[in-house]
């Protein structure tokens, strides 16, 4: 493919995305009321594109059994079948329908990533803010404990834990969440440390505020922006963690379809210029970009900048 064709295709994709995003925004604005409507009207096209993609993914995830032409695990044709009317995206290395696996993959992957990231943020943020607000020995003890855990490389840590506890989806979620929570803790604490020395926190303390109220009412709102930015990235790191673990022979139990493992299963094809592994990788990338576009929009609103 020539460079010109490539550029034309990219321009087409961008234009198509923008058009879809514009329509989606118009639809949202028409359907909403009040403050929500005002903020949606001001939303940039990228954010709308992001919301559109997320909505599509959620729809696909929820309706997977209705949308998928074949079963998640059914071997329906020869391996590496080309794209055709029967098998829109061809088949994988076992002859399972690629499109169906991608659709079921949305359900499994997004579900697992969401659960893991939410868990990691609940634990990490709470502990991080708590440590920064209370300070003293608690901060010291928590930070040292997290230092110890973080100083063990995450892949090695996960390898050890998963080998000890086995690889069910639950342990996978817990282990990756535990690894991620330490990273979230550090960011949350670092951000909050800059906040707790501010005068308004002093004032709140003098008012007698403390504990949970101080953390969630005073510190958290002001620490939200970097944490939201972190959330957008952590979310996609879960796919990558699963993918890297499957590189080491751990990861999700087959025949469950998840994008991280699907990239790994088909990855060798890419060195021959075959695009099959691009499909699950592209699905991950699109979702990551979409989530972070929305995050950027919220970040921008939270910063209070008016431009």
């Amino acid at each position: 493919m020539g460079v010109a064709t490539l550029l034309a295709v990219m321009a087409g994709v961008v234009l198509g995305g923008a058009a879809a995003a514009w329509l989606f925004r118009a639809a949202l604005v028409a359907l909403s009321r009040g403050a929500l409507r005002r903020s949606l009207r001001g939303a940039p096209l990228t954010a709308c594109f992001g919301m559109l993609v997320i909505a599509l993914y959620l729809g696909v995830a929820i309706l997977a059994p209705l949308l998928a032409p074949y079963g998640e695990r059914a071997v329906v044709t020869v391996q590496f079948a080309p794209w055709s009317a029967d098998h829109w995206l061809g088949s994988d290395h076992l002859g399972r329908d690629m499109a169906s696996r991608l659709i079921y993959g949305a359900r499994n992957t997004v579900g697992i990533a969401l659960a893991t990231t939410a868990l990691a943020f609940m634990v990490g943020t709470t502990l991080g803010l708590w440590a920064a607000v209370v300070g003293g020995w608690l901060d010291g003890a928590l930070s040292r404990a997290v230092d110890v855990l973080m100083a063990i490389p995450s892949l090695i840590f996960a390898l050890l834990l998963l080998t000890i506890f086995g690889t069910s989806i639950l342990t996978l979620v817990l282990v990756i969440a535990a690894v991620d929570a330490t990273r979230v803790y550090r960011i949350a604490r670092a951000v909050a440390q800059g906040i707790v020395v501010m005068d308004y926190i002093e004032a709140a303390r003098l008012r007698g505020e403390g504990g949970a109220r101080l953390i969630f009412r005073e510190v958290l709102p002001n620490a939200a922006a970097p944490l939201v930015a972190e959330f957008g990235l952590r979310f996609c790191f879960v796919f990558l963690a699963i993918s890297a673990l499957s590189f080491l022979g751990l990861g999700i139990q087959p025949p469950t379809a998840d994008w991280g493992s699907m990239v790994r299963e088909n990855a060798t094809l890419i060195t021959f210029g075959d695009v099959t592994p691009l499909l699950p990788a592209g699905a991950i990338a699109l979702l990551t970009v979409a989530v972070n576009f929305v995050v950027d929009w919220q970040l921008h609103r939270a910063s209070g900048l008016r431009e």
Partner: protein, 318 residues
């Protein structure tokens, strides 16, 4: 500055405690792993007798604390013991060259990634919401959402198979620096692509987070140029989170690159520790884990020093 010195001193002492805690944790975790060195090394050909013979010879039949104590007393005297797999090879010798390789690759990738990430982050903050901002963001996010091995394979397809760069990043002893840089370019580029997005986005977010502050408004009203506002007024106050995220990514470059090492056949520490874990070769696991931990502790200390210096309020707690 005295506070800084005291802080560094305290943190280094704490760092040693961290290392001690890690050594117990790793030793214990390796102990909890099903199977031991004798079973792992024999694999499918293990028989009860040979397993027992190996355990006896290597002292693996001793209780946990006895073995840990033997290891610790050796380590305190600077002797990390011998590999279980190769009793003739001291762990220190096994690790030496690989540690150098790991540091080299991490340094190479960081030298490309950090300036790139900071530069792009500042420009994205400056031209926020522009096409440039969106484009850089989308590009960085796309790069980061591909698994490392996938990025590596794509680079091999484009840059390796055409013969521009070698796909095996072996570095024979005594090659020249330029040759070395050329041979390890693909793994370094892979790692750059993997870590840049995270740092770039944090830079952008941290700066934008400050732009609504009154003092920035003040500077802007004084007529400082937009670039000046960001570099002279916003950036200094955004250093703490940036330094933190840079430290995390530098630590990752040292400790987390086993997948890239495997794909490019690069002899670094990551492959060594994974092999050693699966062989339950505890002396090697311990030594590498401690190196990783020390790298992590030092990088974080550096980040905290930079953060403290950048925020006088942290320097003079009330």
């Amino acid at each position: 500055m005295r506070q800084i010195a005291v802080m560094v001193g305290q943190r280094l002492a704490l760092g040693l405690l961290t290392l001690l805690a890690i050594s117990i944790l790793i030793f214990g975790a390796t102990e909890l792993l099903p199977g031991d060195f004798a079973e792992a090394v024999l694999g499918q050909s293990a028989t009860p007798e040979t397993v027992a013979a190996i355990r006896r010879q290597l002292g693996l039949d001793q209780p946990f604390w006895v073995r840990y104590w033997a290891w610790l007393s050796g380590a305190l005297q600077g002797d990390f013991g011998a590999s279980l797999a190769n009793p003739d090879r001291r762990v220190a010798d096994m690790i030496g060259v690989r540690f150098g390789n790991t540091l080299f690759l991490a340094g190479y990738a960081a030298a490309m990634a950090v300036p790139l990430a900071l530069g792009l982050g500042i420009l994205a903050a400056l031209w926020r919401n522009s096409v440039f901002d969106r484009g850089v963001n989308a590009g960085a996010l796309t790069a980061i959402s591909f698994p490392e091995f996938f990025v590596a394979y794509v680079l091999i397809l484009w840059l390796g198979q055409s013969g521009w760069f070698p796909t095996m990043a072996r570095v024979p002893a005594g090659v020249e620096m330029s040759e070395r840089l050329w041979r390890t370019f693909l793994p370094a580029l892979t790692l750059t692509l993997v870590v840049t997005a995270h740092m770039m986005r944090m830079t952008r977010a941290a700066i934008i987070n400050l732009l609504a502050s009154p003092y920035i408004e003040m500077a802007r009203l004084k007529g400082v140029s937009p670039l000046g506002v960001i570099t002279r007024h916003a950036l200094p106050n955004a250093i703490a989170p940036i330094a933190n995220v840079v430290a995390i990514n530098m630590a990752y470059l040292i400790t987390g690159v086993v997948v890239v090492e495997v794909v490019f056949v690069y002899p670094g520490l990551g492959q060594l520790i994974v092999d050693s874990v699966s062989r339950r070769d505890i002396a090697v696991v311990q030594a590498v884990a401690l190196i990783f931990a020390a790298a992590y502790v030092l990088l974080n200390l550096a980040a905290d020093v930079v953060s403290t210096l950048s925020n006088p309020r942290l320097l003079h707690p009330r």
